[in-house]
């Protein structure tokens, strides 16, 4: 206490508190609650409330989507019931609506896409995580991600002017010559077809499947690989036994996530599938998907039943993608949350 008294003549008034920093810790700590009590508690409450509102907005958006879809698909539901999804006729003039051809087109084009995309995506993921020189790893994953950044309408544009001509000039004649006995590759090679839709969808979902596959493969512990190699496995055997088998639930999740994307994809498919509500065995025939019929007919739909039939298709699409996505996330989660591999053996 002697020092400040001595220095008081030279020092300006704030200085003493400055020099007594350490001994003042207790008074400052005691002052803090007073500060908080005055206005910052109120500030905190307001802040938390605002952030909570934003969080509620997320919940509210989903609620609103469900509410609007259910409410506005009502007339169609009352008119057709469950038979809506079994009916083959899509006749806006006579107000007869059956969604079967669209459901069929969505399922077939999506599964076709998976058939093409799954082996390719897994191959790319295996190559980037296990085989390629470290220098290439970055650029390769960048390129694959770039594939995900291309807008759907640009895929469609490319598909119309590049993919479809290739299909009709080279691929379809070849397939119908060699495989027409299966019945899947019959008919005139117009290019615009279920096949074209499946292929362009495959290109679009490859980045998702392959990035998730890569992610879950990297989670597989290094000692699994080392153990396989120590037992004398070749590199491929190590990948098959040590990596792919351990990551398979997560890979399945990635595949299902890709399926979810394929089911809801609209523009590229609409541009190449031909938009004809028919069910044909041949993949060369045009088709129609749930998303495409919405894209083509929604803004021109006249009459309440027509509009609500379209919204009911939207509702169905919504429900299917939610179930598919939830399943996929659960599967990925089981792998990335570090569960023992034996849990899903």
């Amino acid at each position: 206490m002697a020092n400040p008294a001595l220095q008081r003549p030279d020092m300006p008034p704030p200085q003493p508190t400055e020099t007594k920093k350490v001994s003042d810790v207790v008074p400052i700590a005691a002052a803090a609650p007073i500060l908080r009590g005055s206005n910052s508690e109120l500030g905190d409450r307001i802040f938390k409330f605002c952030m909570l509102l934003c969080g509620l907005a997320v919940l509210g958006t989903l609620g609103l989507i469900v509410y609007e879809l259910v409410l506005r698909s009502g007339p169609s539901w009352h008119a057709f019931g469950l038979k809506f999804f079994a009916g083959h006729d899509w006749d806006p003039v006579n107000e007869k609506f059956g969604a079967m051809p669209f459901v069929y087109g969505t399922l077939v084009s999506s599964f076709l896409a998976l058939l093409v995309a799954v082996p390719l995506s897994i191959g790319v993921a295996v190559f980037t995580t296990e085989m390629c020189p470290p220098v290439l790893r970055g650029p390769l994953s960048f390129f694959v991600e770039l594939l995900a950044a291309i807008p759907s309408v640009v895929y469609g544009l490319w598909a119309i002017f590049v993919l479809v001509p290739i299909l009709s000039n080279y691929v379809q004649p070849f397939l119908s010559k060699t495989l027409s006995w299966t019945g899947f590759f019959d008919g005139p090679p117009y290019g615009i077809s279920m096949l074209a839709a499946g292929i362009i969808l495959a290109v679009m979902i490859i980045p998702i499947i392959s990035s998730i596959t890569r992610e879950v493969m990297m989670v597989v512990p290094q000692h699994q690989r080392e153990a396989a190699l120590a037992l004398g496995a070749t590199r491929w055997e190590m990948i098959r036994v040590g990596v792919l088998r351990n990551a398979r639930a997560g890979i399945m999740g990635g595949i299902i996530l890709g399926l979810g994307r394929a089911l809801g994809e609209t523009m590229a498919v609409t541009m190449v599938i031909g938009n004809r509500p028919e069910i044909a065995k041949s993949l060369f025939a045009p088709g129609y998907t749930m998303a495409s019929v919405l894209a083509n007919e929604f803004s021109e739909a006249t009459g309440d039943v027509y509009l609500s039939a379209l919204i009911e298709i939207g509702l169905a699409l919504f429900l299917v993608t939610i179930v598919v996505n939830a399943l996929a996330r659960f599967l990925v989660w089981t792998v990335t949350r570090g569960q023992p591999a034996s849990a899903h053996a």
């Binding site: 400052i28 002052a31 910052s40 508690e41 802040f47 938390k48 952030m51 909570l52 934003c54 969080g55 907005a57 997320v58 919940l59 958006t61 989903l62 609103l64 989507i65 609007e68 879809l69 390719l120 995506s121 897994i122 191959g123 790319v124 190559f127 085989m131 390129f143 770039l146 594939l147 950044a149 291309i150 759907s152 309408v153 640009v154 544009l157 490319w158 002017f161 290109v203 392959s210 070749t234 590199r235 491929w236 996530l257 979810g260 809801g264 609209t266 523009m267 541009m271 998303a291 919405l294 894209a295 929604f298 379209l310 919204i311 939207g314 699409l317 919504f318 993608t321 939610i322 996505n325």
Partner: protein, 294 residues
């Protein structure tokens, strides 16, 4: 390997049977083949965009509105501006809500309610864009009784929110807890800590998340089909139908006219350049530190 040195042959791979080695090499080849097959469309798309697009972009394309069928010339200026307008509306609506929800999850979200929001955001992320278009139609278009830029903005905002929310949360959780505690220790109130310290530290990450969401919706066509609807003329009113670049590309691509196909390629090239350019510009700005706290 000839057995001039028996020991070393034993030490290397003597008992791996030939067929296993062959399979190993074959699978390596297959993996390389898949990479080639996957990258081929990517390069083909960019090559065609440049090949067909560059020749079609000229001053008229960037400054004029579409001409009627049969007249040469004309451009997509109104669609480029319209897209920017709709995206601005979407960002104004979507960014604050997305960031706010992300802050809530990171700072107050360690409870069941937070889990519910997280799950909802993930679900929203998977909803097909065309379905979001229907909802924006039902909410905005039906109440306004006509198509509008605002409806398009609402649709795109709904698509932006989940991405922004999840990346914001992730980025804020990366900020060390010690920074928050240091701020509390100085007596700074929690809201101030979150805004000026946590969020500020994570700014570049949060902005990257926003740009990811932006890039994702910038090329979206499906949700705009029956919300913004498209327009042959200039429009900068939020309550009127507005042209958008993806819509214009779509309608020109499926048209039967060569001139319009040419313009569709040009539009696609402009769209890609704008998306990549916007993302790169913001990244650059963030790195230079021109942006303050969000």
């Amino acid at each position: 390997m000839p057995d001039r040195d028996k020991l070393s042959t034993q030490r290397t791979v003597p008992d791996i049977a030939l067929h296993r080695r062959v399979i190993d090499h074959v699978m390596t080849g297959v993996a390389v083949l898949t990479v080639v097959l996957v990258l081929a469309p990517l390069f083909a798309i960019f090559a065609y965009l440049i090949y067909r697009g560059v020749g079609s972009i000229n001053w008229a394309f960037l400054t004029q509105t579409p001409r009627p069928v049969g007249e040469a010339g004309g451009g997509m200026a109104n669609a480029i501006v319209g897209s920017a307008f709709i995206l601005a509306l979407a960002s104004v609506l979507g960014v604050p809500i997305g960031v706010g929800a992300g802050v809530y999850l990171a700072e107050f979200g360690t409870n069941r309610f937070g889990d519910a929001i997280r799950f909802t955001a993930d679900v929203l992320n998977g909803v097909p864009s065309i379905v979001i278009g229907i909802v924006a139609y039902a909410i905005v278009v039906l109440s306004q009784r006509h198509f509008s830029a605002l409806a398009g903005g609402v649709a795109l905002a709904i698509m932006m929110i989940p991405t922004i929310t999840r990346t914001t949360e992730e980025m804020l959780l990366l900020v060390p807890q010690a920074l928050r505690e240091a701020a509390y220790g100085l007596g700074i109130p929690r809201w101030r800590t979150t805004l000026s310290i946590t969020l500020r530290t994570a700014t570049s990450g949060v902005i990257t998340g926003i740009m990811l969401a932006f890039a994702r919706v910038a090329g979206e066509t499906a949700p705009l089909l029956f919300t913004a609807f498209g327009n042959q003329f200039w429009n900068l009113r939020a309550d009127q139908p507005t042209a958008a670049l993806p819509l214009q590309i779509f309608s020109y691509a499926i048209s039967p006219y060569d001139e319009w196909h040419r313009q569709a390629w040009a539009g696609a090239l402009v769209l890609i350049v704008l998306i990549v350019g916007a993302v790169a510009a913001v990244r650059f700005a963030v790195r230079r530190g021109t942006f303050g706290a969000a």
